[in-house]
Amino acid sequence: MNGDPTLERIAQGNGLALCAAGPWTAPFAPLLEAIVSDAEKLAGSRPNIFIDVSQISRLDTFGAWLIERLRRSLTRDNVEAKIAGLSANYATLVDEVRRVSAAPPDERPPVTITGMLAQVGRSVVSVGETFIGLIDMLGAVLVAAGRVLRRPRDFRLTSTVHHLEQVCWRAVPIIVLITFLIGCIISQQGIFHFRRFGADIFVVDMLGVLVLREIGVLLVAIMVAGRSGSAYTAELGSMKMREEIDALRTMGFDPIEVLILPRLLALIIAMPILAFLGAMAALYGGGLVAWLYGGVDPEAFLLRLRDAISIDHFIVGIIKAPVMAAVIGIVACVEGLAVQGSAESLGQHTTASVVKGIFFVIVMDGVFAIFFASIGI
């Protein structure tokens, strides 16, 4: 009797016996469910129905529950359907599932128009909360920095150096590679289009101004937000999930001072260095393409570059770097500390960290552009 499970109907006088046989176990659950819901329709058809389970070869929770479900639906008018032939081995299991009450419904609210509008509203409110959160964090970091300035022994040098290695030293190859390639592309595109009106040499002006003022620092900031901002959020988020931050707090340490200040400082030191290296790599790439593709030899390139750009362009670019680093770092830390208990939440906040980081970097760049234009550099 080890084929498929069955439920045979045998008439007995004015009663009906449902004889279950075979393995009533989980692998046969789909079949068993069909059999049982079919038999449930017999409810009330005969005055006396009982379920004979003596032929069942194996029984587990699935089988036991389905028999219990059948028994319940066959019980009508206070006439209880009986289960017969239950062996002692399975009696405890059937008793166990007898305690099961009806399943509570899945409490997921239906999607409605008001629900969707409420979602939009919540998103708008959360934009405001983001700003408040950032200002809050900025304040907390400044207070912690002030405390550390008064007692320099509390400064975590080892931690800062460790993060500096992570976000600066280890970021150099990829930053240099990307900015080099972008320099090449700008130069190639410039030469391709300027050549039509014989203005090849002006590609040097374009490259110099663009790279030093805007592209260099912006590109590096975006790379840093994606590379280090996300890492900060994930680190702090998983520490939050495992209650490590609570542990720090209970030991009398300020998480801002121990975790966030060294990270932020490392980022603020790293960004100008990376922006400088990035700008140099982009100029090098652009110069190389100008020479090999545009026929501008290096000497002419350098001479032209000296005429085209001044130290102001470089300062305009590099001055933005630490500010952008601070924005990226603060966004990353706020998001990291906002992580809730689940892995999904960690993912959401890491995404938010990168997206908001890049958004604020571009906004800051715009603000700087207006500022520098109005003071005339």
Partner: protein, 260 residues
């Protein structure tokens, strides 16, 4: 009783032969042999860091071994193809030390997850089976829509057990099921494991440090030391053993408190 060369047991559900596991240059398990009988609750003890969890994880295939052979349900796991392996995996359930519940799913979804993946049954039956499992592990159906981060430590263990039992496995691995529970909760949990073993005919492989569990729940005890099984047998065998660690473990102050 000393289990250097265990008697081959004919109805062994797990058969571990000459297992060696190394992490770098550290040898954690060194030619270990172990049989688990069908239908028993085997308590697995040993000093902290002796490799109890490593053995569990090696049997279920999470830690690679250097040498040896593992048979579960008579299937040699090294030579099994992916279909045979899946069939074996469907017949065992695992309770991880920290519960390992999926943090982004509710209790309901956690318990239903393996069932939904392996069996094509209606949502109604899924919900009913979920409630049946919750009742079995002593939880109220009301917790079904909570997330793991909203549960207490004991509840997490229970939900994790319910998930391990979701497909009605024949074999469950429990990694320190009672650690972090209060004594009453731990006692209930032992009772629960006993009841489930009786009602479902389970075989239980339980890594534990809890002397109460060993006394009340386990049929047989295996002791791990120096990468080998140093002893296997009943509580009485353990107490009679002359091995220094065993003497300390089973005749120490805490053990006497449990017995009296």
């Amino acid at each position: 009783m000393m289990a250097e060369t265990p008697q081959p047991i004919s109805d062994a559900i797990i058969r571990v032969r000459d297992i060696t596991v190394e992490f770098g240059t550290t040898r954690v398990l060194d030619g270990l042999n172990l049989d688990v009988k069908r239908g028993e609750i085997l308590g697995f003890v040993g000093p902290s860091g002796a490799g109890k969890s490593v053995l569990t994880r090696t049997i279920i295939g999470l830690v690679p071994k250097v040498a040896g052979r593992i048979e579960v349900f008579g299937v040699d796991l090294d030579n099994a193809d992916s279909r045979q392996r899946r069939a074996v995996e469907r017949r065992w359930g695992i309770l991880f030390q920290q519960g390992a519940l999926f943090s982004s799913l509710t209790v309901r979804q956690n318990i239903q997850f393996p069932v939904r993946e392996y069996l094509n049954v209606s949502q109604k039956l899924l919900d009913e089976i979920m409630v049946a499992k919750l009742v079995m592990v002593g939880l109220k159906p009301e917790v079904a829509d909570r997330f793991p981060s909203e549960l207490s430590g004991g509840m997490i263990k229970r939900v994790a057990l319910a998930r391990a039992l979701a497909l009605d496995p024949e074999l469950v691995f429990l990694d320190e099921p009672t650690s972090g529970l209060d004594p009453i909760g731990a006692g209930d949990f032992d009772e629960l494991v006993r009841t489930l073993q009786r009602t479902l005919g389970l075989t239980v492989f339980m890594v534990t440090h809890d002397l109460d569990s060993l006394y009340t729940a386990c049929d047989r005890i295996a002791v791990l030391g120096n990468g080998k099984i140093i002893a296997a047998g009943s509580i009485a065998d353990m107490k009679a053993s002359q091995h220094p660690w065993l003497r300390q473990y089973f005749n120490g102050k805490r053990a006497r408190a449990v017995v009296s």
